[in-house]
């Protein structure tokens, strides 16, 4: 159960974004575009629809997954989900950011990305009960079911760390 995209899957991703009529509301709403003008989500969609290929160029990793574009898109195109797919393809090709395996390993072994956080102290300050920590086992299962574990293996097999 790897996450390697078959041509049909890629076609169905492109299919889902074809309704886009390039109004630019996603770019108008994108917090990343505001600070990084080289990352234009509208443009990204246009490229994919026009060329018919998904060619990750690294900018997909800047998406903050805030879902503002998806919420405002007048055509119901899910740009954020497209970018997740692009991130996956990027990973398959061994182009994930360097820190990614580290993060996933942390999640796999401990269930969280960062062990120490001020969150609990802050919650305490506001009289909120501490959050329940996810167990590593549960998280591992989620990652296995979503194919993230396989994807990570695939990524590492490409020997990214080697260069």
């Amino acid at each position: 159960m790897t996450d390697t995209k078959t041509p049909e899957e890629i076609e169905s991703i492109i299919e889902s974004i074809r309704p886009c009529f390039q109004c630019g509301i996603c770019a108008s709403s994108c917090p990343v575009f505001r600070v990084a003008p080289e990352i234009n989500p509208r443009h990204a969609i246009d490229e994919i629809v026009k060329t018919g290929v998904i060619e990750p160029d690294g900018t997909e990793w800047s998406c903050a997954y805030c879902l503002m574009c998806e919420q405002r898109c007048p055509m119901g195109v899910s740009l954020a989900h497209l970018l997740v797919a692009v991130k996956n393809i990027s990973t398959e090709k061994g182009n994930a950011p360097e820190g990614l395996p580290e993060i996933i390993h942390s999640i796999l072994s401990t269930g969280v990305i960062a062990q120490d956080s001020d969150l609990d102290k802050m919650r305490e300050k506001y009289d909120l009960p501490p959050l329940k920590r996810p167990t590593a086992k549960e998280v591992r299962k989620v990652l296995e079911l979503t194919g993230a574990t396989d994807l990570l293996e695939l990524y590492q097999s490409k020997g990214v760390g080697s260069d």
């Binding site: 009529f21 390039q22 109004c23 630019g24 509301i25 770019a27 108008s28 709403s29 575009f33 505001r34 003008p37 234009n40 509208r42 443009h43 405002r72 007048p74 055509m75 119901g76």
Partner: protein
């Protein structure tokens, strides 16, 4: 409930004694509202009412079921269109031996004048009482041949066509032998149906010489005025206290930017003074009963508390009224009183009291206006009135509402005072508006130095309305020009997505705006934020032509509001689109007609449109309506369902299925069909558990016999394809016209609507070993020409599949498809795919040679299983659901 007087029954179906149901027709009840209205009954043509009289010497009406059937078959070569593929001589020879056929004559062009003459001569010389023309599609020439046989004295309904061009010669060009075989079988099917065809009386009903127009905006006014000018009495119903609609509150109207009320005002007065127009303001439809030509309407009029005849609009009452109410005309930007007039030019020119806010029309609670009014025009005793009248036609001009800006919260309307809608802008720039034409921003009453216009608010967005609202681009450019006209130094930017300046003279307006320095930026505004100190606004928008984010600061923002549909609020069953606009009968060829005869639509109720288009459409609707009024009588569909009372179990399922409210139940529990309302779609018959509904000329027996003949030879190779007359049959015709080749094994059976395709037809076909069965109708959800027939057909699919599963019939041998008249290619694809299924099925049969004889007894059981009572069926329903799903899954994987 209205009292129905002694049922005015007229003997209605003298000739149709096929089933000995007495056809006393009590015309009542319409639109499923349960209100009965006495009404005049269906009349008949002269010859029908006196069948025995030989007044029109040579004309004979042949319709006695008991009489010897004498069928004439006329195969046509259609030049080389049919003749080059189908061996017409062989077909003619074959036809001679078919039961009931007494005469066969082939022809080069049967539809041409000599060909028609030959049919007429043959009818007389050979005493033919049924005619089968084997030529092109009935959608092409059925009317032609019906007319021809009628001229020879035969009832037009006794003529039927076999489609051997679109369904044979054009789609099987390289297989002449198989094509000839198919042609023969199609003719045999037609002949078998012809034998039991029944003559139908050509009926018409009287038309009341009056019309009702609902909604007195610019469209309703125009429609009412046109009809009134033609001399018809028009009842004009308006919900608001004044007529004029949305146009009355606009300042200027594009493209010439003339003053709106200045051009509308005189028209409003014309309406008020017209002797043929009965105007009811503050009135709403309560109920509509009846049918084309004979509608009975109840209108509820809210009390105005002011006598419109006495009121001189002197304003004295307003001066003393202590209650302030937000002013609707001014878009709540100013106040009016509890007694008020919407605007100075209002028609009727009289005040009205807003009873919800008035303190009380007596001297104890307030009563100041009563005291002050010298004309004694105020009537505290005024009450709600119910007005009833009869009309022949209805025009719906209920308009649209401006979209609600609160549904787009990201743009800040309601939170930020300086974000206003274009309609609010219209009032601000209007000399009669709250600021007397001064454009100021609401937060500080200062003239804005910079204005931004945001396009497509409430339009082209799946979260509000996905459609374009048509008028807003021109509206925005007009607003920009108005700003420039009054305040030339204002910096004004329009943020548009696609500027649609499509109308006459619109391009000139656009050019003018550019020339005057209005800036246009292509990009949809993401969000608007307010600077807390200045209350200026910041728009974030991507300039899509330059791929860059713009953070535009503006002192005032106009939201260009689209339209919101209001259709569907009336007690009239006209289908509406998802966004609440009325659906026309045909988008191109009948754009102001509706699926209900005698009801027309125009203006904003049909779709968002500007004033010019509304007026054009209103005149069109008035013209279409007058066609019915002018003739005085209206022909109604001769075919209509009949309920066989001895079989009817009175379950009432037919009532739910009838989209026209044509089936009603009388006091004794008996269901009857009002033939004037019935359009003969057959959806009721398709689902009748007792088979108690009789569809003349599309009877169960006729369809069964067509299936029998279609499957006479090599049934396992055949596809029995049921196609609805309006979409799918035409789609199959288009495949023919486009010469799209497909295998020859399909036998197409036509019915009025897919709603007629009963479960038992597919069962019957499979019992006869059909290779595959297709049910094809108009596309879901809204394409059905009988409104909902396709939905009811779709509901039968799981039942049929369940039955197939029980009888070991492979799931893929049955298909339900939606094919429009434009989808010839799709039809070809379906036929080709199904032929492959049939091919596979044949191979399976061949591989287990012993199977066919074994199968027979299993099939014999089928009818028994079918006859389980509805109750039992319901009980098995839930149990069978799971395996059904599994079966579907299997085929998918």
């Amino acid at each position: 409930m209205t009292v129905s007087r002694a049922p005015s029954s007229i003997l209605f179906g003298i000739v149709n004694l096929y089933y000995s149901i007495v056809q006393f027709c009590q015309v009542q009840l319409v639109f499923g509202r349960g209100l009965a209205s006495e009404s005049e009954c269906v009349s008949m043509t002269k010859s029908e009412s006196n069948p025995e009289s030989e007044v029109e010497s040579t004309k004979r009406e042949i319709h006695h079921a008991g009489e010897e059937v004498r069928i004439g078959v006329f195969p046509c070569r259609c030049g080389k269109n049919i003749g080059a593929v189908v061996d017409i001589d062989e077909v003619a020879e074959f036809s001679r031996d078919l039961p009931g056929v007494v005469f066969v004559q082939d022809n080069r062009y049967t539809c041409a004048d000599p060909g028609q003459k030959e049919i007429q001569v043959a009818i007389n010389e050979h005493s033919l009482n049924r005619v089968v023309v084997a030529s092109c599609s009935p959608t092409m020439h059925e009317a032609t041949f019906r007319k021809a046989v009628k001229a020879a004295g035969l009832n037009p309904y006794l003529c039927i066509m076999a489609n051997i061009r679109e369904h044979v010669s054009w789609v099987h060009q390289s297989e002449p032998e198989l094509a000839t075989l198919k042609a023969k079988e199609l003719i045999a099917m037609a002949v078998s149906k012809a034998a039991t065809l029944e003559a139908q009386p050509e009926q018409d009903v009287n038309v009341t010489q009056a019309a009702m127009v609902v909604g007195a905006g610019v469209a309703g006014m125009q429609a009412a005025y046109d009809l009134a000018e033609m001399g018809y009495l028009v009842y004009l119903i308006e919900k608001q206290p004044t007529i004029g609609g949305n146009m009355a509150i606009l300042d200027k109207v594009f493209p010439q930017n003339d003053c709106s009320i200045c051009i509308l005002g005189p028209k409003m007065v014309d309406i008020y003074q017209h002797p043929n127009i009965r105007l009811y303001t503050m009135a709403e439809l309560e109920s509509v009963d009846g049918y084309v030509g004979n509608f009975h309407v109840k209108v509820k009029q809210r009390p105005r508390f002011v006598d419109t005849d006495k009121c001189t609009a002197c304003n004295d009452c307003v001066e003393v009224c202590p209650i302030d109410v937000p002013d609707r005309t001014d878009q709540n930007l100013s106040w009016r009183k509890a007694i008020s007039i919407p605007f100075p030019q209002a028609v009727p020119s009289a005040y009205y009291i807003d009873v919800d806010t008035c303190l009380g029309m007596d001297l104890i609670r307030c009563g100041k206006c009563i005291d002050k009014c010298e004309q004694e025009a105020i009537k505290p005793e005024d009450t709600e009135q119910v007005i009833e009248f009869d009309i022949g036609v209805i025009i719906l001009a209920t308009g649209f509402n401006p979209a609600d800006p609160r549904k787009t919260p990201r743009l800040g309307w309601g939170r930020y005072p300086n974000v206003i809608t274009t309609l609010e802008f219209e009032r601000l720039i209007n000399a009669a508006g709250p600021t007397e034409g001064q454009l100021v921003r609401p937060s500080d009453y200062q003239e804005p130095k910079s204005v931004s216009v945001v396009q497509c608010v409430g339009s082209r967005d799946i979260s509000t309305r996905s459609g374009c609202s048509n008028y807003c681009c021109a509206e925005s450019v007009k607003c920009a020009l108005l700003v420039k006209e009054h305040y030339p130094d204002t910096d004004i930017t329009i943020f548009y997505q696609d500027l649609r300046m499509h109308g006459k003279y619109f391009e000139d307006v656009y050019r003018k705006a550019r020339e005057q320095g209005v800036k246009f930026v292509r990009g949809r505004v993401g969000e608007i934020q307010q600077f807390p100190d200045t209350q200026n606004l910041r728009l974030s928008v991507e300039d899509t032509t330059h791929n860059e984010l713009i953070m535009q600061e503006a002192e005032l923002v106009l939201l260009s509001m689209g339209a919101e549909g209001t259709a569907g609020e009336l007690p009239i069953p006209i289908s509406t689109t998802e966004d609440s606009f009325y659906i026309e009968s045909h988008p191109k060829l009948a754009p102001v007609d509706t699926s209900t005869a005698g009801i027309f639509i125009c203006g904003g109720a049909e779709s968002p449109k500007d004033i010019r288009d509304s007026v054009i459409q209103a005149s069109a609707a008035a013209g279409r309506a007058s066609v019915i009024l002018q003739k005085g009588r209206y022909p109604i569909e001769a075919l209509s369902a009949k309920i066989m009372q001895d079989l009817c179990s009175r379950c009432g399922s037919c009532v739910e299925r009838c989209p026209y409210g044509a089936i009603s139940q009388d006091g004794t529990g008996k269901f009857t069909v009002v033939s004037a309302l019935c359009r003969a779609c057959g959806t009721c018959a398709g689902d009748c558990p007792k088979g108690a509904i009789y569809m003349p000329n599309f009877t169960d027996e006729q369809i069964f016999s067509q299936i029998d003949i279609a499957l006479g030879d090599n049934p396992e190779e055949k596809i029995v394809a049921f196609a609805c007359a309006f979409c799918s049959y035409r789609g199959s015709d288009l495949a023919g016209v486009s010469r799209m080749q497909y295998p020859t094994n399909a036998r197409i059976i036509r019915a009025m609507c897919s709603g007629r395709f009963a479960t038992k037809f597919a069962q019957k076909a499979f019992e006869q070993d059909a290779g595959a069965v297709l049910y094809s109708g108009c596309h879901l959800p809204a394409d059905c020409h009988f409104q909902t027939g396709n939905h009811f057909m779709a509901k039968r699919e799981p039942r049929i599949r369940k039955w197939m599963e029980r009888h070991g019939i492979a799931d893929d041998r049955f298909r339900v498809e939606w094919v429009s008249a434009g989808e010839g290619k799709k039809w070809q694809g379906i036929m080709t795919e199904m032929s492959k299924v049939v091919e596979r099925h044949k191979e399976e049969l061949a591989s287990r040679k012993v199977a066919p004889p074994k199968k027979k007894p299993a099939k014999k059981k089928a009818p028994a299983a079918k006859k389980t009572t509805p109750k039992k069926k319901a009980a098995t329903k839930t149990r069978k659901k799971a395996p059904q799903k599994a079966a579907v899954k299997k085929t998918r994987s």
